[in-house]
């Protein structure tokens, strides 16, 4: 069998294989030899016997980070085959950035991961999703970042060591619009649409800057020495205005917004709205159709009823949060102590995950900033993480992204029986960070 040629200064943490994808985590240069059991363990490499019909042993496919390490990020990954030569053909999965040279070096591996499909001389193929666990947490230099303590709660600084640029993943916000000229947002905003006036644009005119606040949590420009940062430092956000200046809108405007989002080619829709207490078939169909188009729909769990105290929406449904569709992630809000916010709806069937949603600091209209609370604020933090993950590994399916976010939460006893995962999102773990 072939060998896994590990360089002495690297430690290989784990190999995880699932549904045709080999996940190899590559940490920064810290430790010596790989753990026993991984070296040359062909059986644990995911592979497809595509053309080889003989009984000859399959050639192992292995990945080794190169010596070159820049800013704690491996800048190059080296694929090695039997006898140390690179007898493979190479191709990159859709959306992966980089190239493979004649020596088997995968280059331009500057921030995060990529999916590389390798094929050996016997026709054995494998898809390797490279995941780098690198360096320590990265603190952005945005002047008001210290007001965004919720990012530390969900380990975003560690996730930023892996991925900050989500601009390869289109995200739509169906909301009150967004401040299109906000200096901390503008370059991350795409031309949106206003379904109330049926015109392009999507500017936010809301009293509380609801849509601008939401957009800032997904993708306020990060590390810019100005204001705040979003979960994504670079983003491609399409603000779709379907809610008016008072934060209200009709289902028809929302459905039109979803149609626009599909036209824009987004992969994620953020829905920080709710409040329908009767099952609405049209909205259900629209979300379901979005799922068929591969779009992840991230919805706020809702802020309770007229009394403002959270309700169990498994028992007293509120839509869209209670639809229970397979392309939805429904988000409850927690405070800084990971306790369910008093206003947050919950339900272990309808609500999948929690995120910070109390006194959340983000962008507001007219070059302003401020705090808002609500499940509206929790949802875009999940949206940002989903965009990060998808940008990091474009080959993941909707179901895989959804499952990955759900499976990497930080559990909290206070959320047991309140949300499906009993946990709050952890951005770093979701992206495969290993401390």
């Amino acid at each position: 069998m072939g060998t896994f040629r590990g360089l002495s200064q690297f430690k290989y943490y784990s190999l995880v294989f699932a549904s045709g994808v080999a996940l190899l985590e590559m940490p920064a240069c810290k430790q010596a030899t790989p753990p026993s059991g991984l070296d040359g363990d062909v059986s644990s490499v995911n592979k497809t016997q595509s053309t080889n019909t003989t009984d000859t042993p399959v050639t192992p496919l292995s990945i080794v980070p190169a010596v070159i390490v820049t800013n704690n990020l491996p800048s190059q990954v080296h694929f090695v085959g039997q006898n140390g030569s690179p007898p493979y053909s190479w191709s990159l999965a859709n959306g992966s950035v980089g190239s493979v040279n004649a020596n088997g070096d995968f280059q331009s591996y500057t921030s995060g991961g990529a999916s590389v499909i390798v094929t050996d001389s016997k026709g054995v193929t494998a898809t390797a999703s490279l995941t780098a666990a690198v360096g320590g947490p990265i603190t952005p230099n945005d002047t008001n970042y210290s007001s965004q303590v919720f990012y530390s709660q969900m380990q975003s600084p560690q996730s930023w060591a892996i991925k900050t640029d989500c601009s390869s993943v289109g995200v739509a916000t169906i909301d009150t619009g967004a401040d299109l000229v906000h200096p901390d947002l503008s370059t991350n905003l795409m031309p949106g649409y206003n379904t109330i006036t049926n015109a392009s644009g999507g500017a936010d005119d809301s009293v509380v800057s609801h849509g601008t606040h939401v957009a800032g949590l997904i993708g306020a420009i990060g590390n810019s020495n100005v204001g705040v940062t979003g979960e994504c430092w670079k983003a491609k956000i399409y603000p779709i205005k379907a809610l008016d200046s008072q934060g209200s809108g009709t289902v028809t405007d929302v459905i039109e917004g979803m149609t626009k989002a599909r036209e824009f080619g987004v992969r994620i829709i953020n829905a920080s709205f709710g409040g329908i207490t009767v099952f609405d078939q049209s909205l259900y169909d629209a979300i379901s159709n979005a799922g068929s188009a591969g779009i992840l729909f991230i919805a706020a769990a809702g802020n309770g009823g007229s009394d403002g105290i959270g309700d169990n929406i498994d028992i007293h449904p509120e839509y869209p949060a209670s639809y229970g569709l397979g392309n939805m992630l429904v988000v409850a809000a927690v405070n800084s102590a990971d306790q369910l916010a008093s206003f947050s709806n919950y339900g272990p069937i309808s609500v999948q995950i929690a995120a910070p949603g109390v006194n959340i600091y983000s962008t507001k209209r007219s070059n302003a900033y401020g705090n808002l609370s609500g499940t509206s604020m929790a949802a875009p933090l999940i949206t940002g993480v989903a965009a990060q993950l998808w940008a990091f590994n474009p080959s993941l399916t909707l179901a895989q992204v959804r499952a990955q976010i759900k499976s990497k939460v930080d559990s909290s006893a206070a959320l047991s029986g309140k949300v499906e995962t009993s946990g709050r999102v952890n951005a770093a773990k979701t992206l495969g960070y290993s401390p």
Binding site: D244, G249, V278, A300, G308, V358
Partner: protein
């Protein structure tokens, strides 16, 4: 005469005694207006206590201890609910019905259009939560629109004819689906019920439903 006077005095005394007994202050009685004193009284003489019952406010959650709120609702938006301005129009129709099966109320209200919105209709239903406390939920919808999905094999022309017959018209088609918004004159509340029920019965229509409002959370 003397025995009669004695008997009369005895009779009066007896009545007085009875009255005295009846009006003797009951120190164990709970004063519902002073729950703290009632609790003290409970501790001192538990055997003769009358339990105090929390007052139930219809439409408002009543709890023994209200959870601490983390923040104030944003101005202009009712936290967890809808913009106040949605309901700024005059109420032109309001009907409160008691649901026979549960004894709980169901209320329909139609608000006249404001500058910002068309007719707004609310349907408020009461229910009992897990603790048995009566709560209410409000569905808010446009008061002069209904959404319909065309049945398989039906055409837009057929829907247009149907709508016209009911005094409505197609306002718009939602792109890439067979869902249409029908609009009608909402000044008469019975229009809504009539058109809604007629559409639901129509063979040209797969389903009809209100055009609900959503709210920023």
């Amino acid at each position: 005469m003397k025995p009669r006077i004695v008997i009369l005095w005895l009779f009066l005394f007896g009545i007085f005694a009875i009255l005295f007994r009846v009006f003797e202050p009951n120190t164990n009685q709970v004063n519902v207006n002073e729950p703290e004193k009632a609790v003290q009284s409970k501790v001192q003489k538990p055997s003769r206590q009358i339990a105090s019952v929390p007052k139930i406010d219809l439409g408002k959650k009543t709890q023994f201890e209200e959870p601490k709120r983390e923040s104030n609702p944003p101005k202009g938006i009712i936290h967890g609910g809808y913009s106040k301005s949605l309901f700024a129009g005059n109420i032109v129709f309001s009907e409160n019905k008691k649901v026979k099966s549960s004894g709980l109320n169901r209320k329909v209200t139609l608000y006249a259009p404001t500058d910002r919105y068309g007719w707004v209709r609310t349907e408020e239903s009461q229910y009992r939560d897990e603790k048995g406390v009566i709560q209410s939920r409000v569905a808010v919808m446009t008061g002069d629109q209904v959404m319909v999905r065309l049945a398989e094999g039906s055409t837009e022309d057929e829907l247009e004819q149907l709508a016209r017959r009911l005094g409505a018209e197609i306002e718009k088609n939602l792109t890439d689906s067979r869902v249409y918004v029908l609009k009608f004159n909402g000044s008469k509340p019975e229009n809504w019920n009539l058109i809604y029920s007629e559409l639901k019965k129509s063979k040209e229509v797969a389903y009809a439903e209100p055009n609900y409002f959503v709210a920023a959370q």
